[in-house]
Amino acid sequence: MRWDFSSVLANSDALLVGLVGTLRLFAICLVLGLGLGLVVGLGRYARRKWLYLPATAFVEFFRNTPVLVQILWFYFALPILVPFEISPLAAASLGISLNSAAFSAEIYRAGIQSIERGQWDAARALGMRWGQAMRRIILPQAIKRMLPALTNRAIEIFKMSTLASAVAYVELLQQGKLIASLNFNPIEAYTTVAVIFFVLLWPLVQFTYWMERRLKRDE
């Protein structure tokens, strides 16, 4: 057989549309997932039961169910309970964001817990409130230690965005499917999609390796 990428190149517009869709979904889920994760992570760290228990239940539920099931639930089941339409983008964003929030919550919690007690003591001895100590003293130090794991999460979110194709959201893989079915060239179409993902993510992966090595050296 002969490989022929010209039929894929002819559809580069469609791939570009897919790439934009992937990036949009990625950006939404990155902000919502890591942002909400911080809130849930602080809840997991809290000593008050009414904060700790719901946060823990959230984390356990979303870590222990497949993200594709979550997306399909939001797409097929949720519209029955709410009075408005759920678009493919909304369903995918909800599923991936909540899942990422649960995973990043544990990263935040572990990062915060890794900061020595003396830092809390010193901040409180100066008269800082809990929130001030967290924002000014604890988080800036913890973020540095969490950065490799959070970048890893971002990479996972980028990969997870392909699951949105299951609800026909227009992203890279969905467009690859389209090109493959229109031109009967699944080999070239899917290979191209795989290469695009590899080229986009490989530098980020190397970056996390580098960060991990540097962090190990610093500590």
């Binding site: 003396g118 010193a122 100066l126 008269g127 800082m128």
Partner: protein
């Protein structure tokens, strides 16, 4: 004038009682050295005074008002009571100057310029004006502790708590920190000092408290407690710290 009354202070961890009802009055200008074997509860006592540890029972009275347990009461107390830790606890992500400015900026809400001017003054007072832009990782232990003292001083505390400020230092660095503390004593500052430096306590303190098993076992002037102790346990403790000379 009494600035701090402690009445029946009890601290328990689970079922273990560490402090069994401490009574203590601190007068303005007093310099109280707290001595005791490890496990006697001296650090816990100090940490209860600014609520780093929550007292299980008893009262701490500041300005004739018992301090409540709400966060704003605790914050009000901590702004008036400074603390210096054994392990320095400097903020590693801020320069020496940033460490000293932090309380003024975040807690007192001073402007950056005001906080900087004050912080520079405090750093100069502890002899570290030239280290303002240095991060804690590049400071010696003695320098770190001096920055930590400047950080506490910047808040203008009425009472300073020192929790074994020289115990984590190499012997050759102890002197520079003790000199700074001595200069604060000369200014007439009120302070409580948990320490193993008996010679320093003898020369600097106005009162010495010997703590044993979570109780005040003996107290008096340095001369009374350190040179002519009445209690057997105090004598035994001093005998085991014979390295000091007056």
């Amino acid at each position: 004038m009494t600035i701090l009354h402690v009445r029946g202070l009890i601290k328990r961890y689970g079922t273990v009682e560490v402090l069994h009802g401490i009574d203590l009055d601190v007068e303005r200008g007093e310099r109280i050295a707290i001595l005791g074997a490890s496990g006697s509860g001296k650090s816990t006592l100090l940490r209860c005074l600014n609520f780093m540890e929550m007292p299980t029972a008893g009262e701490i009275v500041l300005d004739d008002k018992a301090v409540g347990r709400r966060e704003r009461d605790l914050i009000a107390v901590r702004q008036r009571v400074g603390m210096v830790f054994q392990q320095f606890n400097l903020f590693p992500h801020m320069t020496a100057l940033g460490n000293v400015m932090e309380g003024l900026r975040t807690v007192r809400r001073w402007s950056a310029a005001e906080a900087r001017a004050r912080a520079e003054k405090e750093l100069a007072r502890v002899g570290l004006a030239d280290k303002a832009q240095t991060y804690p990782a590049h400071l010696s232990g003695g320098q770190k502790q001096r920055v930590a003292i400047a950080r506490a001083l910047a808040m203008d505390p009425e009472l300073l708590l020192f929790d074994e400020p020289t115990s984590a230092l190499d012997p050759e660095l102890v002197g520079e920190v003790l000199n700074v503390i001595r200069s604060l004593a000369d200014e007439g500052r009120t302070m409580l000092l948990v320490t193993h430096e008996l010679g320093f306590a003898y020369h600097v303190a106005t009162r010495v408290i010997f703590l044993a098993d979570g109780r005040i076992h003996e107290q008096g002037t340095p001369d009374e407690v350190l040179k002519h102790p009445r209690m057997e346990r105090t004598r035994a403790f001093l005998a085991s710290h014979r390295q000091f000379s007056f």
